[in-house]
Amino acid sequence: MIAAYVVNGVKSGLVAGLVFGLLVALVANPLVAFAEEGAHVEHAGEAGDHEHAGDHEHAGDHEHAGHSHAEGALPASLTDGVSVLSGVLWGVFLGVVAFGIAFYFLEPIVPGSGAARSYAFGAAGFLTVSVAPWLAFPPAPPGVERALDPNAASLLYVGLVAAGAVASASGMYAYDRLRGDHGRPLAAAAGALPWALLVAVAVALVGVPSVAVPAGLPSDLAHGLAGLVAFGQALTWLVMAGAHARFHASDDPNRNAGPTDPPLAEEAPAGSP
């Protein structure tokens, strides 16, 4: 039973990953390169006072002031290829973790039934993996300097995803518990509460997320890039949920039922001679 769920997760993730990889190849790669060029020109002009080696002791391996990619060791075709491949693997990763492992455990409390359940879970996945960290780290165009050093930022990023997961799962739990006795509207309100709390806390701590516009980049382009990132992740989750709905439905119910289920075929002959 679990193996079937994990396989479904990998398959749906692969489908979504291929779509996202295509988006990276056709849109994100050229657009990020273009934006980087814009941000880079500006940085080259003020290179003197922009060498913020002071707050990065390991400036050697982390020269991110203006993204030192012009003199980078790797040819653009290689980095483009790796980015596309990473996009595909990103889909597989999300598929295994969300629809493979988490969905196996949480399926009983995910709202809806049938295909709607896959889409509800996909929405929760988008909120958890993308929106939760964006509360503190909204999608940034190239050239934006983070206030935090990479390790602290990564730690906070993982923490926010975990907080999003807790909010999503507890919301589903609340919805599942209250729906029977108190009706759908109240259950939905209670289910949304953990997320409302998370957003309120995040806004209270770091303020309303806004897209940073680096010097040298038109603000329209910066916002367009952020929109593209949000669209790309939403699309990835939507495709994944759609694929999962199909794979999950086409699974043989007996195979999915697991070893605790007495197969129906064996029960039937009990009364017959």
């Binding site: 679990i2 990020v32 996009g87 990564s154 992740q233």
Partner: protein, 60 residues
């Protein structure tokens, strides 16, 4: 009966999976996640740079 509560799912997983199976899946997932999201080695970081921007992952 079908395993239709979260508790049942947990119990079923405990009963049917060996620790080695659980560990190998978790390790594979952790490795993939670490490389895609957190790996900061300069060459790898540079190669995955566009992807991380596109996915909205913290990359700096």
């Amino acid at each position: 009966m079908t395993a239709n509560t979260v508790h049942d799912r947990l119990r079923l997983a405990r009963a049917t999976l060996t620790p080695t199976q659980v560990l190998s899946v978790l390790l594979a997932v952790a490795a993939l996640g670490f490389v895609l999201v957190l790996f900061q080695e300069p060459t790898a970081h540079e190669a995955m740079h566009n992807f991380r921007h596109a996915a909205g992952v913290v990359c700096h």
